[in-house]
């Protein structure tokens, strides 16, 4: 009979139980009456007939039992019975149950939180139909350490029109900031620009109105179409039902909203959710001064497509590669197309956080393991108290398997309850985590709704946990000898001693795992400290920074320059401001310009030259940032279009091109800027993009000296204001000065430079904070576990201790005995844990900074910490042991 049939029969039997019972009763009753009648008819006496009948039928109840077994009811009923028994047990020991459930809930909750984040960021597919068909068309940069090029718009169009392998292909680019005005109110929002077939390829339907279609992307539009996200509809328009057809202006250009995307759709980048989406045809209007639609030299678009039926990635790659090389300019000729599965979306967030998340998963799994060991230890200790009950059950005929099932049901009940609490706890914790992680330049958008996968995960680990910590004690306890336990009223000391190796093994494993966690925490915390205390090359204290993007309100060269100069002037006059400057590429962000530098007389030693990056900065940049000048001078207002072109370089660049020779006054030229530029100053090295980088060569160009009409370099600027006292207190005044220059100018990302430094360390901070929490939790659990087992041992051996004291042992020696036993346990735990730690920490080598994975100082400190924890745990039991009154101990059996 198939499994399914069995299960349905079982369920049916359960539900109609009473009717079934009555039926069975009636049927057997008929038999019980008919048989004796026949016997009587055959000549037997009535009593004899009845006796024979009963004997022959073998006991009606037994027959019924067998019938029930055949029906499959027994299993289900047994489990229900076990559940009821388990619940009763839990209520009888509320203290024990509470501790166990709480311990497990913490472990399960932490796991749920981390997994929920991992699920959203790493595992989930995009919320579109058939995401597995989506692919990225990539143009990887084979040379300098990875990264890829985008596509130019004409190349994308060519690929779109000349391929036979993709059923749909679209291009898009995301923008962190666009200026969206509704009526008179302007606000900064996130946006993306897409080709006309974006939504049709993704097969996304609008929640209200319609999506952008290829027709919206053709030249000659009367008014441009735009779509907004559901979140933006809620946030800015209050779910206005008249949203479709509303007129808005984006970066000054008029658009009409044609539709709203559904709430679960967020584009194709995990971690971002563009508020507005515009068609590609609007690009020249929205980015004034730079039309990229006919431009085949700017490679800026990301391209994705949906594989056609029956096409695999390799075929698509080959076809697209051929098309690409037909059309691409020779400069891009040596690049090859790659086709990458895109079902999960591309995600910068994922790339940055994948490793830390996996490390956290491991840590949190360890915590759960320790919690399990703890609860198992509790169960084992309590099982000893239930010995009589178990012995009785066994004696009454319960099979060992049946008993194990009973005990396991209790464990799973405990862990199931803990799982329920853990789910709520985990949801709360993951919200905290997301908040911690999204404090940054651009807020991270992560779908917070509880996913089915997360629920399934929580359920699964709850049940597994229950089985894990319940199995060993259940197996152990049902192996007992019936005799001694039914007879003795209490404890039998000799037996108890050897019996406790399971409990000891559990504690040793707890100590080992805790050691791993504590060492891990130590490594991560020290990494964070190393990163924060190193010399940054600039002084972040007392500096206020903000970004201004005049391009969003239509500024072009030369108005830009005037604007910036005026802003620097006015802010400089605010009392309390010591210096103010600006830079195109802010500190500790990813942006940079990599021009080719030509130094007359310099021949590169090898084909591989370290790329020199360049930043466009304002006057007194180095003074404001606190970057020490080694030679020469800082930029000033005199360095403008009428004076000699100058640059400043840092030590690394000087070493690269000039060795140890003096370079002040030497000339070089930079691609894109005509004429020779003179080196006016040399500054010391600093961190420009990330706190982990080493010695990047850098070049600085004053923005006032940029040739006319170099639009992208002047489109926005980050300002730095060094103040005498607290930067935040001057923020309102500075804002006012900026508004006096231009009241519509959008400024944002107002923060102090120290906050910026902290933000760049968000991953390390997250890992260090969480692992400290987990480490503390683990230590606490290990401490409790140690205490539990030592207290239990002392209680078991009260008899023996009493005898020792009666025979003259000093109390001090007795305490020492307990301490010695605890130390043995801990040292064993450390002995087991150390090799595991040394191997495991190698896995996180890449995340560390300034120390190796087997850093001796960290390991030594962790070991000492464990020993201290041990002595704390042993303190109370040791005192208990020393206080044993021999008279009481000897009398009490």
């Amino acid at each position: 009979m198939t499994c399914l049939k069995r299960v349905t029969a079982c369920l049916r039997a359960l539900l109609r139980r009473s009717r079934m019972e009555r039926d069975m009763d009636a049927e057997l009753q008929f038999h019980v009456l008919s048989y004796p009648e026949d016997l009587v008819r055959a000549g037997l006496g009535r009593d004899e007939a009845l006796r024979r009948a009963r004997m022959a039928l073998g006991g009606i109840d037994r027959a019924k039992e067998e019938c029930r077994d055949v029906r499959g009811v027994n299993l289900a009923e047994g489990i229900i019975e076990d559940l009821r028994c388990g619940l009763r047990m839990m209520c009888k020991n509320p203290g024990f149950s509470a501790i166990a459930v709480l311990t497990l809930a913490l472990g399960i909750g932490a796991n749920t939180a981390i997994f929920s984040l991992t699920n959203t960021v790493i595992l989930k597919m995009l919320p579109v139909p058939h995401p597995e068909q989506l692919v990225y068309v990539d143009l990887p940069n084979a040379e300098q350490g990875g990264g890829s090029y985008g596509f130019s718009y004409p190349t994308y169009c060519y690929l779109r029109d000349h391929n036979s392998v993709l059923s749909g292909v679209f291009a898009f680019e995301e923008w962190d900031r666009v200026n969206v005005s509704v009526g008179d109110e302007a606000e900064i929002a996130t946006g993306q620009i897409v080709s006309g077939d974006y939504y049709s390829t993704l097969r996304v339907r609008a929640e209200a109105g319609r999506t952008i279609i290829p027709d919206d992307d053709r030249p000659g539009q009367q008014s441009f179409a735009a779509m907004i996200s559901h979140g933006y509809w809620k946030r800015r328009f209050g779910l206005d039902p008249g949203i479709v057809g509303k007129d808005i202006a984006i970066n000054g250009c008029p658009f009409t909203i044609v539709g709203v995307t559904p709430p679960e759709f967020f584009g194709v980048s995990v971690g971002k959710s563009p508020d507005v989406t515009l068609p590609m045809i609007a690009q020249p209007q929205v980015m004034p001064g730079r039309s990229l639609l006919d431009n085949n030299t700017t490679w800026w678009l990301t391209v994705m497509g949906r594989l056609g039926p029956g096409v695999n990635e390799e075929e698509a790659r080959a076809d697209l590669d051929v098309s690409f090389h037909h059309f691409a300019p020779s400069k891009m000729g040596q690049l090859k197309i790659a086709v990458i599965p895109g079902g999960r979306g591309l995600s910068e967030f994922r790339d940055r956080f994948q490793k830390p998340l996996l490390a956290l998963e491991a840590l949190v799994g360890l915590v759960l393991g320790i919690a399990c060991a703890n609860v198992a230890g509790l169960l084992v200790a309590r099982a000893a108290a239930r010995r009589k009950e178990i012995a009785l059950r066994l004696a009454l005929g319960a099979g060992r398997g049946r008993l194990i099932r009973l005990l396991l049901t209790e464990s799973v009940l405990l862990s199931g309850l803990a799982g329920g609490i853990g789910l709520a706890l985990g949801a709360w914790m993951s919200r905290l985590l997301i908040d911690l992680v999204s404090r940054g330049q651009v807020p991270i958008w992560i779908d917070r709704r509880v996913d089915g996968r997360v629920l399934g995960f929580t359920a699964a680990i709850s049940i597994l946990t229950g089985m894990l910590f319940g199995l060993a004690p259940a197996l152990r306890i049902t192996k007992i000898d019936l005799g001694p336990h039914l007879k003795t009223a209490g404890r039998v000391s000799g037996l108890a001693r050897s019996r406790f190796t399971l409990g000891k093994a559990l504690v040793i494993s707890q100590v080992a795992l805790s050691l791993l966690l504590v060492v891990g925490t130590g490594l991560f915390v020290r990494t964070l400290r190393n990163l924060k205390t190193q010399d940054l090359g600039f002084k972040p204290e007392n500096v206020l920074t903000f970004e201004a993007a005049p391009i969003l309100i239509g500024y072009q060269d030369p108005r830009n320059r005037q604007l910036y100069t005026q802003m620097i002037d006015r802010i400089g006059n605010v009392p309390g401001v010591r210096a103010v400057t600006a830079a195109r590429f802010p500190e500790l962000t990813r942006g940079a310009w990599e021009p080719s530098i030509t130094v007359p007389g310099f021949v590169p030693a090898s084909a591989e030259t370290t790329p020199v990056q360049a930043n466009i900065v304002g006057p007194r940049y180095f003074e404001t940032m606190g970057m020490p000048l080694l030679k020469g001078r800082d930029f000033s207002e005199q360095d403008n279009l009428n004076s000699q072109k100058v640059v400043a370089i840092n030590e690394a660049t000087a070493r690269l091109y000039f060795g140890a020779a003096d370079c002040l006054g030497r000339s070089l030229s930079v691609s894109g800027i005509s004429g020779q530029m003179e080196i006016a100053g040399v500054v010391s090295e600093a961190k420009y993009h990330s706190l982990r980088e080493q010695a990047l060569p850098m070049l600085f160009i004053p923005f006032l000296q940029l040739p006319e009409k170099t639009p992208s370099f002047l489109s926005q600027m980050t300002f730095y204001v060094r103040t005498a006292l607290s930067p935040e207190s001057l923020a309102p005044q500075i804002r006012r000065e900026v508004q006096l220059v231009d009241k519509d100018l959008p400024i944002f990302a107002i923060k102090t430079l120290s906050e910026q430094v902290d933000e760049s360390l968000v991953r390390e901070r997250m890992v260090a904070t969480l692992s400290s929490l987990f480490g503390l939790l683990a230590l606490g659990l290990a401490c409790v576990g140690l205490y539990g087992i030592m207290a239990y041992t002392v209680a078991q051996r009260t008899n023996e201790i009493g005898i020792r004291i009666a025979l003259g042992a000093q109390r001090g020696k007795v305490s020492w005995m307990v301490l010695r036993e605890t130390s043995i346990l801990v040292i064993a735990g450390i002995g087991v844990g150390l090799p595991i730690t040394l191997t495991a920490t190698r896995l996180v080598r890449g995340m560390l900074f300034g120390l190796t994975s087997i850093d001796p100082a960290t390991i030594a400190c962790s070991t000492v910490l464990m020993l201290m924890v041990a002595s704390i745990a042993a303190y109370v039991p040791a005192r208990m042991a020393s206080r044993v009154d021999p008279m009481v101990a000897l009398r009490y059996e």
Partner: protein, 113 residues
Amino acid sequence: MGNQLELLQGTLDMLILKAVSLGPLHGYGILLRIQQISKQRLEIQQGSLYPALYRLEDQGWIASVWGESENKRKAKYYSLTPAGKRRLRTEAENWNRMADVIAGILSTTPEEV
């Protein structure tokens, strides 16, 4: 009742199916019929009858219906289903084949080995 042959495992099901194939019967009646058609050489353990009946019903080879017995008592009558008929045929064939094989083995003389 003479020498009772011990019933081989699994043959009880076959016997019940055969008994029921001759006409619908209640549990006790099945017992009696098997005894009758075996000419009193076979007596079924009464305790093992009902579990076997339930098992056969679960597997769909017999169907039950409540009815009235000769002496006006409520009793459950079992009858053979078409699937049961097929099952009986297959089981009978297997049994006969098995009996042939075993008979062949048992009648082997030393010379034939």
